[in-house]
Symmetry: C3
Subunit: 427 residues, 3 copies
């Protein structure tokens, strides 16, 4: 009975039209062209590599898409248990009409052809979005993205700021900033003006959020303009050879300035907390990052206190930080929980983290899920996974344990799936 109810709730939640509040979609190339574009997603290349396929095999320059798929398929049996693989199977069944229960060495070539034909069909992008029940999708845009050539109603810009905060000491980042702002950044005033310029540019294109991913060691603090000016002098002179102190100070100053701008431009500031970059530098592209789970949201208390008007949708990389996230969202009016990020985006971890959120944080302060996808085809299977978990949790924790009606369960689910996205990021 509980299984039936969970299925019913999940089915009803599947009818809620989605706004996907975080992705890496390139709106100029939103769909896959073939199976290689899908199996080339880092979730598959890194698992293939982890299972023994050499990086050189996977990333060899000049091989055909089909050859790449052929190589990756040799390690698909070892990863057949993973939820990541189950997304691929669901994707192929739901979007391509793949009619077999698995994808294996015997049948993948037929799938390859099927995928190529579907992906090349007229209106494929609309078809995918329609089958996926997706209305619009948040992007991840570099600060110098011109934000042109795509439908700004469907693809909603978000200003990603990792480069500004963590790579400003690199000359190429500063050059990009100067180029896109048509200004020269030779002092703190210039830097601030350049940042403002970017907020103006993004604002004009309907920006939804400012966003950044942060290493466990980062602790935001307000840095005086005087200290930041000195740090900037050092960095302009020595670039990445500047003193670690200068680099850290200017990182903090830029980060704080971004928060200032969020405050001024009335923009949520998405914080994605906890990633260490290039822990495994010999890994495949985008399969090199891991983390140190010893991080605390108390590092962000000065920021949360300083900007009471800025909403901070927070994602954490490791589940061990989820309880802190729950409790900071419970206490701080400006903290909301944001999806299930990356290494915490697997079913058993989502279920635990979701339970803890649903039972203790106001329902209005939870953004249920985002796809984090690079191709729109992945939105459907990822949301399918999430909705199935959400349906089970609502059934067990609310319908059964707290005697909620199915109606009320669906309303709660729909609120965190959709309504909160609209309210928190603006219509």
């Amino acid at each position: 009975m509980s299984t039936l109810l969970a299925k019913s709730i999940t089915d009803r939640l599947s009818k809620v039209v989605l706004i996907d509040p975080h992705s890496h979609i390139n709106p100029l190339s939103a769909t896959a062209s073939n199976l290689s574009d899908l199996l080339g997603y880092h979730y598959y290349t890194e698992l293939a590599h982890s299972s023994g396929l050499a990086k050189e095999q996977i990333e060899q320059v000049g091989i055909s898409p089909k050859e790449k798929v052929a190589r990756l398929m040799t390690t698909m049996r070892p990863i057949s248990n993973t939820v990541q693989w189950s997304w691929m199977v669901d994707l192929c069944q739901s979007l391509f009409g793949w009619d077999e229960p698995t994808i294996d060495l015997k049948n993948w070539e037929r799938l390859y052809d099927l995928a190529e034909s579907k992906c090349g069909s007229i209106g494929w992008e609309e078809t995918v979005l329609d089958k996926s029940g997706v209305e619009s999708i948040f992007l991840t845009n570099e600060f110098d993205d011109p934000l042109e050539g795509f439908d700004l109603k469907r693809y909603l810009p978000c200003l990603r700021t990792d480069d500004l905060v963590f790579h400003f000491a690199k000359p190429e980042v500063r050059k990009r900033l100067e180029a896109c702002t048509k200004s020269s950044v030779t002092n703190l005033g210039g830097l601030k003006a350049a940042i403002t310029n970017r907020f103006e540019h993004f604002q004009a294109k309907g920006v939804k959020a400012c966003a950044i991913s942060l290493p466990p060691s980062f602790t935001p603090l307000k840095i005086s303009d005087e200290s930041a000016s000195q740090a900037l002098v050092d960095i302009l002179k020595q670039s990445v050879s500047a003193s670690p102190n200068s680099i850290e100070s200017l990182s903090r100053w830029i980060f704080w300035s971004l928060a200032d701008h969020c405050n001024e431009y009335n923009l949520p500031f998405d914080l994605m907390i906890g990633v260490n970059r290039q822990v495994y530098p010999s890994g495949v592209y985008q399969g090199q990052d891991l983390y140190d789970s010893r991080v605390s949201l108390i590092q962000y208390a000065p920021l949360l206190n300083a900007f009471p008007k800025v909403t901070f949708p927070i994602s954490v990389l490791a589940s061990v930080t989820n309880q802190e996230l729950v409790d900071y969202a419970w206490i701080f009016p400006n903290v909301v929980t944001n999806g299930h990020w990356w290494y915490s985006n697997t079913p058993s971890i989502i279920a635990n983290d979701l339970r803890a959120r649903l039972e203790a944080i106001p329902r209005t302060k939870q953004i249920g899920y985002y796809s984090d996808a690079y191709k729109i085809e992945f939105i459907l299977p990822k949301f399918n996974m999430y909705r199935a978990i959400l349906g089970r949790v609502l059934t067990q924790d609310f319908a059964i344990q707290r005697n909620w009606s199915e109606e009320d369960c669906v309303a709660l689910g729909a609120e965190i799936l959709r309504s909160n996205v609209e309210r928190i990021f603006g219509p």
Copy 2:
């Protein structure tokens, strides 16, 4: 079938008469006077504030109790999913006979009147305790509490020592200590005598435990009398401007002296580990504290080793510390687990933590639950929540997975709910 068995076990556990081993009840004003006293509990004010209600609205001086409730009720829909809110609904249904499934903007005024009439009825305190199946309740008493004017059989004193350990540098704390001990604290001997005086005072009133809440950074160590004397000189002269070293040294010395007294007076020492105070200083009253989950019980190893005869009932604030708690209680004879504290007092977290305890720690070393309540009306719904979880865990982990009889499950549940409280804290 498992649902029926869980319900049966829970029902039988509900008949176990309780001793509530930790609360903040004021025995001179143990019950609520009206709905405002209940909705004024920090769990509701902080969630209301988190949901957007201004602190100034909630804490405005001079508003009537009914006006306060009216304001809080405007944010009750956003928190209707929380378990905290479910306590309120259960409380009203179980104690006031509230006959609707929810409390909302349409019906709260009728509830307000009903609550006022019930709370004002003759013998309400006895009625609540009787309906709640509570025999006696541990208090949280400041060191200078006269412990007079209430029934010492029903309300059992516990000596709370946060002020002595962490705020001794404040002149007002020292004045309070001098006033209640009628002594002057001008040297270490005087301080020790004053502490002894407090243990004598509390002992005469049937004290059950010494108790303290501790920040994650605290690491108990034995400080020599010489160092402590120097620290005391600095503090007597400079108060809170004394050197951080002096303040830390004396904190540690006082803490260690409390443990010495617990040893001498044969008193359990409740440690509530992990809270950071005032992380969100603009929060509502009692809604400002959070934590850094990076804490380890290894910090307490010197203490646990130095006082083998003192029982330490330990509560941890974050679930991530629960496994350490389980394992320290498994190894150290003088460590017992104590309830599910504050931010870990929500169902999914209780269930995980409880499972890990029941399967690995001797059954005699687990104190199941305490209410932490400020008004006795909250004991019932909180214990109801706990007993339902306990019933489910006993059913799944013991009856089903380990073939225990219902009888044996109930016996285990009753032991951690009641018998252990009596044995550990004395009859």
Copy 3:
């Protein structure tokens, strides 16, 4: 229905013949002689002590085995809820044919006699292994173990290296190394040669792995030969009074040298991460160790990157580290997960950790379980516990949630129970 399916899967997994990939079996005395040898396992003595039995009672020299059991049985009611105790009951029922549901003060003497007669019966070792479905068992051998006098097909040596890495400053360790290698260790070259000698010795006996347990503070780093030489001079002169820096440097150098040898000898290097020794020094034998759960696998990134050809089967002591373990095994080709160690070897923790592994790590990179046993009688009940959990997780997460067939579930279970052990450690 799901209960039936779980039972069916578990039953089928029970037919998979095991290679136990980690134990502390002494192959010259692999079985218990009587109940005292079983109840003398640290899991029982430490819980008995934790429940109040004095260490002096438990470890009194000269008491008879029966007297020891009599004393331990006085605290068996308090630990009757623990899973550790359930192993004992299962063991007695499954191996001795004990026909009562419990072991208590009234019936233990009969059990004592039964156990003594069974343990003394001809072919008991074969009987136990046969009933337990065990083909071979990995050992834990000190570096100077002669590895003689036992069946090297059944008992497979593993080179345990804690003493070399963490106790080399003790003169007795150096003497043992010199004695078994018939060499003198007076400089770094000599030390390296001695290590090589040990790998040669173990290699000749069919060694399966190099293994070590590591404290949370340990961070492997490559130390230059020059620094290590200086450290060695200091240690040879001052032993444990050498500078902490020298001791740490040489620890790291020896550890790195072991990894070098694993690389050269094509041997997996088992890392058991997270234990602090002697946290409770007054505890019973082997019941003194605990931990600080604040540890991260990022500490091991330099090692994992430096030795891509060495497989590192990693065990973590605290469940909080399990997600990092999952994610490092997901990304690093040379990391595999290894069993459920010690304080994480209880059902609720195994279930959580197992779920997270099965859903995200390639199935070929997971070693399901090891017994860690000191007597072969414990292999059966521990694996029984694990298989029951594995059966439930496969049923819920794969058969029900992902529509896997029973056949596929069993295949996945068998792979992590057996096939991976063979492939990873060699046939």
